[in-house]
């Protein structure tokens, strides 16, 4: 797969040599930095896990250290010979516990994730913050538990966590011929292996069906839902997988330090981890590694070395103030200052996505603008073969049962009835226009059909089966796709990835599939990319597949949104003002495209549109809404002559009168 990063061999070989040779060089130089570097790598691993939640899925997590604590305490409780807990005396092997710790952290990730699913932004941050506070407090208080029910004490002075004193000692890993007791080098290699494995897994997850779903949620959760991505499942997976890496980091930390106390997992650790992610660049693996390394090494090595240096200067010059300085007390000052400076100079982080892609030069820009001026005419030959195949079973004679039947649909907001008792039938292969004055309830009607809103009353039948109460992504799965009035693309994803998110609900790769890439997943992914490329060629965007969606011109964005909707393999397409903001030529092209989709694929279309030449030109029948009720239904000719419609909407012959008001 061309997009999967090809490793440049020579720099990679140099990097591996450096990583492998470093501890021996350090020993030879007697620099004694391996200990600090190993600790730094623990924090890097934590930051990488946090990056899944914050960088990929876009959920601000202020309590990530809680998962670190859970990983560490899992190791502490299962692998300590002295603790007075019920687990006393049963010391489990490090090599087993590290996996258990990851699993426990992931499970708790789901637990903390569950209540946060309905909230975003500030609220989510506050909930995670609270969780981050609860865990250390719980650990402190679970060192001495007594349950006293009227003198009966089923539990007396039970020590589960070691309380304030923590767990000490924690067992070390054992391997034949490897000395984990007095030498830091085996620890270094162990975290290197864990880190490399984690990085490999994260890299593969990012470039998978799952990674695209995370980013789609980050960019626009509603649009992702309406493109077939299950937000609940996707967000929970982000929490669980993000937490599992901290399980590895936490258990490694506990075993290396051989002692843990609740104080090591306080709020400031969460913040430091977040700083690493933000400093390096949210969503960039390289950036997060760099950010984590910089912050920990600055803290562990540079600050203490500088303190020694300044004290030495102070003593030599006889300045008492300098001789007793301790810069490590100023670490938060330096973190804060550094972060402020970086955010001012490079708000996207050290290695984050640049706000402007650097590649495009002026000539390319000119070419792009020229293309915009002349959108390609849609051609039936260019229609992807797979889309024809996908559509063929759904293709029925127009006399067959309707695709969509809406009966008595009603929805109000407070006292305001937005949609009232609306009926609408879309026959197979039909194009139905939905028009009406601004604020008549057209978009609300779309939101009801696509599951973004629940009707107060009424039936919505897709191919005879009710879709009322289904979540939007499930309705996409049943075969209804939509576009939005104000374009809602995944702005910071490539044009190709936008279409691939559309295919999400037709793909099957799981988390394990994304990481291990068995042949079935590889075949599926290659086919998905082929399909997406075909679709882009069909709408004339194949040359811009690698471009960020936000960099497309307006008309191109409209066409990309339609391509994304088509990628879900719909039987019914809901278009909300697709030609708004388009000039007459672009409008013509899009009208042709809609007609072509119906003709070639038998696709049914429901169209909200204010350009009358479009609606009147391609609709079989038109429904007119005003103040939430259906005021007319009929063929374009009937609608054009309907006095009520003219008065409320078309305005022909009434303009002069309106000017007067």
């Amino acid at each position: 797969m061309s997009d999967f990063r090809s490793v440049r061999v020579i720099p990679a070989a140099l990097l591996v040599t450096a990583l492998l040779g470093y501890p021996f060089l350090d020993r030879w130089l007697q620099a004694q930095t391996v200990h600090a570097v190993t600790d730094a790598m623990i924090y890097v691993l934590l930051a990488l896990g946090l990056n899944i939640v914050v960088g990929y899925a876009g959920m601000l997590d202020l309590g990530y250290a809680a998962f670190f604590a859970i990983g560490a305490y899992t190791m502490g409780l299962l692998n300590s010979p002295v603790l007075g807990s019920p687990l006393y005396g049963h010391v489990w092997s490090f090599w087993v516990v590290i996996w258990i710790a990851a699993a426990v952290s992931a499970a708790l990730g789901v637990v903390i994730g569950a209540p946060t699913l309905r909230v975003r932004g500030d609220y989510l941050a506050i909930i995670t913050l609270a969780f981050g506070e609860i865990i250390p407090v719980a650990i402190r208080n679970m060192g001495d538990i007594t349950i006293d029910i009227a003198g009966w004490k089923p539990v007396e002075r039970l020590n589960l966590t070691g309380g304030e004193n923590g767990v000490n000692p924690v067992g070390r890993p054992h391997l034949p011929f490897v000395n984990f007791d007095t030498d830091f080098i085996p620890w270094y290699f162990l975290i290197l292996v864990i880190g490399a494995f984690s990085l490999w897994a994260m890299n593969r997850m990012r470039d998978s069906r799952l990674g695209r779903a995370w980013m789609a949620i980050r960019e626009d959760e509603t649009a992702a839902d309406c493109t077939g991505v299950n937000p609940v499942k996707t967000k929970l997976l982000a929490f669980a997988l993000g937490a599992s890496f901290s399980g590895f980091a936490g258990s490694f930390y506990a075993a290396k330090l051989q002692a843990i106390t609740p104080g090591a997992f306080e709020f400031n650790v969460s913040i430091m981890l977040l700083c690493m992610v933000v400093l390096g660049g949210m969503g960039s693996l390289k950036g997060v590694i760099l950010g984590g390394m910089l912050i920990t090494l600055f803290d562990r090595i540079l600050l203490s070395q500088m303190t020694f240096f300044i004290r030495w200067v102070g003593r030599s010059l006889g300045i008492a103030a300098l001789a007793s300085v301790d810069l490590t007390l100023w670490r938060w000052f330096f973190f804060g200052l550094g972060l402020v400076v970086i955010m001012l100079i490079r708000p996207e982080g050290l290695m984050g996505r640049r706000a402007r892609p650097p590649a495009a030069d002026v000539d390319e820009g000119e070419e792009r603008l020229a293309l915009v001026a002349a959108p390609p005419r849609p051609r039936a030959e260019a229609l992807p073969a797979w889309l024809r195949e996908a559509a063929s079973p759904g293709r029925r004679p127009p006399s067959g049962p309707p695709v969509l039947e809406v009966r008595g649909l009603t929805r109000s907001f407070g006292g305001l009835i937005a949609v009232s008792d609306v009926e609408l039938v879309i026959p197979a292969g039909g194009i139905i226009g939905l028009i009406g004055p601004n604020g008549a309830g057209k978009t609300t009607f779309f939101n009801l059909v696509t599951g973004l809103l629940r009707p107060d009353r009424g039936e919505i039948l897709l191919d005879g089966a009710s879709v009322v109460g289904l979540r939007p992504h499930a309705i996409v799965g049943r075969g209804i796709a939509r576009t939005f009035q104000s374009i809602r693309l995944f702005q910071n994803m490539s044009v190709l990835d936008n279409v691939l998110v559309g295919e999400h609900c037709r793909l099957h790769a799981s988390v394990a599939g994304a990481v291990f890439r068995p042949p079935a997943v590889m075949v599926e992914e290659v086919r998905a990319r082929g399909r997406a490329t075909d679709l882009l060629a069909f709408v004339g965007l194949d040359a811009k597949a690698a471009e960020m969606a936000k960099n497309l011109a307006y008309g191109d964005q409209r066409r990309l949104e339609i391509a994304r909707a088509l990628a879900t393999e719909p039987r019914l397409l809901l278009l909300d003002e697709p030609t708004a903001g388009m000039n007459p030529r672009e409008t013509d092209t899009l009208t042709e495209l809609i007609g072509l989709l119906r003709r070639e694929l038998g696709l049914s279309v429901l169209l909200i549109e204010h350009h009358m030449e479009v609606v009147m030109g391609i609709s079989d029948r038109i429904t007119v809404l005003d103040y939430g009720t259906r005021i007319a239904e009929g063929t374009p000719v009937e609608i054009r002559q309907n006095a009520q419609v003219i008065e409320a909407y078309l305005g022909k012959g009434y303009e002069q009168e309106l000017v007067a008001t």
Partner: protein, 239 residues
């Protein structure tokens, strides 16, 4: 007081990484309606954004009322008497329709005239009167469009920049909106109008410019542009 209220002289500007304006020169005389037409991505919106200071000109000058404004911050430009609408329908979603409209008049010093202007705006958009107490974010797309325009009018600007005011409006309202544009122009507001609906724009405007890939390729009286073959083929959809 010069006859030219707004003048762009050889303006070059980037939009993202695209060189969107490559030497745009245009003038808008006091009391005029001037329209700028062109395809998507031709540089129309970038031109408006350059005037209001949201995009900075790399080269060239922007003068308003005889004063250079190409290095003046956006909020100060707004206080000089330039208002833009609808700015991609950027209304204040958590505030009510009334509050949105009142905010339009935020920088005005003639507070006593504000209620009267509010009444005028509500007369122009009766739909907004029905929705005064509703939150801006709950309005439909077309209603937000009206609100954005109403808010711009509340600033009582000397110059109004209109970015596709007819977008997303019902046919009856499209007619109305162009009548409103003519109406406020007659009341003394100078207008620079960007529109996809070139036919309507050229009917209401005095003069027009055609912009293509960041360059002005044609300029003439609006009536003459309406008759021009190039414009009819490229922008009016005639074959």
């Amino acid at each position: 007081m010069s006859a030219e209220l707004l003048a762009l002289q050889d303006v070059h500007a980037y939009y993202g990484n695209i060189r969107a304006l490559k030497g745009v020169s245009l003038t808008v005389g006091r009391g005029e309606i001037v329209t700028l037409i062109g395809g998507n991505g031709a540089g129309k919106t970038t031109t408006l954004r350059t005037v209001i200071g949201l995009v900075r000109a790399l080269r060239g000058t922007v003068t308003f009322d005889g004063r250079r404004i190409d290095r003046v911050p956006t909020h100060r430009i707004a206080r000089l008497g330039i208002a833009q609408s609808p700015e991609g329908r950027r209304i204040f979603a958590p505030m009510t329709v009334l509050e949105n409209l009142e905010l339009g008049a935020f920088a005005r010093t003639d507070r006593e005239a504000i209620p009267q202007d509010l009444e005028r705006v509500l007369a122009l958009f009766p739909r907004l009167r029905d929705r005064l107490a509703q939150k801006g974010g709950t309005l439909s797309g077309g209603e937000q469009q009206m609100l954005a325009m109403g808010r711009a009018l509340m600033a009582k600007p000397d110059m109004l920049l209109l970015d596709e005011p007819s977008m997303g409006l019902s046919p009856i309202l499209v007619e109305t909106i162009f009548d409103i544009i003519r109406n406020i122009n007659q009341l003394g507001t100078t207008i620079l109008l960007v529109e996809q609906n070139a036919r309507m724009a050229l009917r209401v405007a005095h003069r027009g410019y055609v912009i293509q890939t960041g360059r002005i390729v044609l300029q003439d009286a609006a009536a003459a542009l309406l008759r021009s073959d190039v414009v009819r083929k490229a922008y009016l959809g005639e074959k």
